[in-house]
């Protein structure tokens, strides 16, 4: 029997697989047994009610998808009164994702949704910081640290910082979140991208730029997970382009403790369960008793250095 459990700070997950925020919903319970997931991460909410971005909201590429959804949000009251009770019927821990326009509002919203039933809060800091020229919080180490600190002092729940990949050196942001008190990092959100229809000459998204997700992003995000795993002590949740158990294992070897699945659930709703099954198979085949032993278990390259070659 393979032990699939992993530990994200104080939270024990039955297995390392969970949905990425915004790619999961109550509806999935009509399709599969959500109790088999490691955690349930809900769509980001904001304190205010929002409609989200104008369509078109999606453009498709060969191996990735470009989205401009924005954050359609029904606000914290709906979350606490409708969603939290709904998810109480399931066993995996519920992780709420929140976003806000200012550091203070992140703290306030974290406090408002810290209700029984919510087991951790993920901070979606990839949104614009209205007090700082609208640059994303997650592109700015100072703002990242402040947001996490504000949330940590507003709630006793674990706080996960979801970083953006649209940065230079991601370890700077990872460390800022750790210093701010984050219990875990989610690495990472979608990559800022765009596309133009050459016949109409219009952008293919209503808001011109959007977030790129899906398999093609994996090599870049994997590199970021690897870098972060060498920069911080807190657990890392890999997120970007996972669609098979092999992808999840790659993330774990690079340093992730758990893994989120996004776009792949849209291509096949059962992806997450297939990944869980595949993890078990891999562990059995490779005689891995505890999946947590895969975290950061990459070994060095089999290099043919010229220097070494000399001695052959």
């Amino acid at each position: 029997m393979v032990d699939l459990r992993v530990q994200i700070g104080s939270l024990t997950l039955e297995n390392p697989i969970m949905p990425g925020s915004g790619t999961f919903g109550e509806q999935l319970a009509s399709v599969l047994d959500v109790n088999r997931l490691g955690a349930l991460v809900t769509k980001t909410i904001t304190a205010d009610i929002r409609e989200g971005n104008p369509p078109p909201r999606i453009a498709e590429f060969k191996d990735s998808v470009l989205w401009s959804i924005g954050i359609p949000s029904k606000g914290p009251v709906h979350y606490v009164e409708t969603l939290v009770p709904f998810y109480r019927q399931f066993t995996p821990p519920l992780v709420a994702s929140i976003s806000a326009d200012t550091v203070e509002q992140f703290g306030e919203l974290a406090a408002r949704i810290s209700v029984p039933g919510v087991k951790a809060i993920e901070a979606n800091i990839s949104c614009p910081n209205l007090k700082k020229d609208g640059n994303a919080f997650a592109m700015d180490p100072e703002a990242t640290e402040q947001v996490i600190r504000a949330m940590k002092s507003a709630t006793s729940l674990p706080v996960w910082a979801k970083l953006t990949p649209n940065v230079g050196d991601i370890t700077v942001l990872a460390r800022a979140a750790e210093v701010g008190g984050a219990d875990a990092l989610v690495v990472a959100n979608a990559m800022l991208a765009m596309a133009i229809d050459i016949h109409t000459r219009r952008p293919r998204l209503g808001r011109v730029m959007g977030g790129l997700t899906g398999p093609a992003t994996k090599p870049v995000i994997l590199r970021m997970v690897y870098q972060c795993a060498h920069a911080v002590q807190i657990p890392i949740i890999g997120c970007g382009g996972v669609s098979s158990a092999g992808d999840a294992i790659e993330y774990m070897l690079a340093g992730a403790t758990a893994v989120q699945v996004g776009t792949a659930s849209f291509l096949s709703a059962g992806t997450m369960l297939k990944v869980v099954d595949g993890l078990r198979d891999y562990c059995e085949t490779h005689h891995v008793g505890r999946i947590r032993d895969l975290t950061k278990a990459m070994v060095g390259p089999q290099e043919v250095r010229l220097e070494d070659a000399l001695t052959v």
């Binding site: 790619t23 369509p55 999606i58 291509l267």
Partner: protein, 270 residues
């Protein structure tokens, strides 16, 4: 481990046939599980289209149910070849299997006391309403269908609609009979003949506007099946929204789960 049954499922459905109907349209018949056969009129499936010469599309493609044949255990689709996905669909042959996800969405809502249903559609839009014709007929309602097309060779589903007992009227661009004023006059006359108590439309913005007007004028409910590009097709990704007008405000709704069939009164034109 658990005997839970899920209303929506992903399954590999064997292809019974997949024949070209004309130069642009194909008629696909799949062997369907009981779950698939539970599809109601206006619902759709999300299809993983096979690739053609390596251009296998990443996203699934939404496709309305054209017919559920519960006797043979089939679900049928009528589709137009437009891009990579539908080109891939067109390569399917008897013996292949297609990965289908569904049934999905909120279909047409017909009150039990409905007596006369009018369907008005253009092009492949009629595919979406064909199951409504069949079920309305089965429920004892009269069904009249106005089919609008460029010219007679692009007429869709006429025979099938007749076979389920609908009275069909074709209108064409070629002889200007598809003109809105003419269609309006036809509907008005039909309504005079036997009051219409459900208007349903699909596939044309101009027909939608007409149905909206006439619905308001005669005080009868109108429903429209809308399309939008989709990601998840079950309401999770919020990419399939269109703008609607409610009593209080203008708001986005998800075509995949709040629709694809909507009350015409709340639709906006664009």
């Amino acid at each position: 481990m658990n005997a839970q049954v899920f209303p929506i499922s992903e399954s590999m459905a064997p292809v019974v046939s997949n024949d070209a109907v004309n130069a642009e349209y194909f008629h696909l018949i799949l062997e369907a599980s009981a779950g698939m056969q539970a599809a109601t009129p206006g619902q759709f499936f999300h299809l993983r289209c096979p690739g053609v010469s390596g251009e296998s599309p990443l996203l699934r493609r939404p496709m309305s149910v054209y017919r559920v044949d519960r006797v043979r255990g089939h679900v049928e689709f009528l589709y137009k070849v437009t891009g990579a996905g539908t080109r891939g669909l067109a390569t399917l042959q008897r013996g292949d299997s297609l990965d289908v996800f569904g049934p999905l969405g909120r279909g047409f809502q017909m009150a039990p006391e409905t007596r006369h249903v009018l369907l008005v559609a253009r092009g492949v839009g009629m595919a979406t309403m064909a199951p409504l014709a069949e079920s309305a007929q089965a429920a004892g309602a009269r069904v009249t269908a106005i089919l609008s097309a460029r010219s007679p060779e692009f007429l869709m589903s006429n025979d099938y609609l007749k076979s389920v007992g609908a009275v069909t009227r074709a209108v064409y661009d070629a002889d200007a009979s598809s003109d809105m004023l003419h269609v309006e006059a036809m509907i008005t006359a039909l309504h005079a003949e036997q009051p219409i108590d459900l208007l349903a439309t699909c596939g044309s913005n101009r027909l939608l506007q007409l149905v909206k007007q006439l619905g308001a004028r005669f005080g009868i409910p109108g429903q429209v099946a809308l399309e939008q590009h989709m990601g998840c097709a079950i309401g999770m990704c919020f990419c399939c929204v269109r703008a609607f007008r409610t009593a209080e405000k203008v708001t986005y709704r998800r075509v995949c789960c709040e629709g694809p069939v909507f009350d015409v009164r709340e639709t906006l034109s664009w």
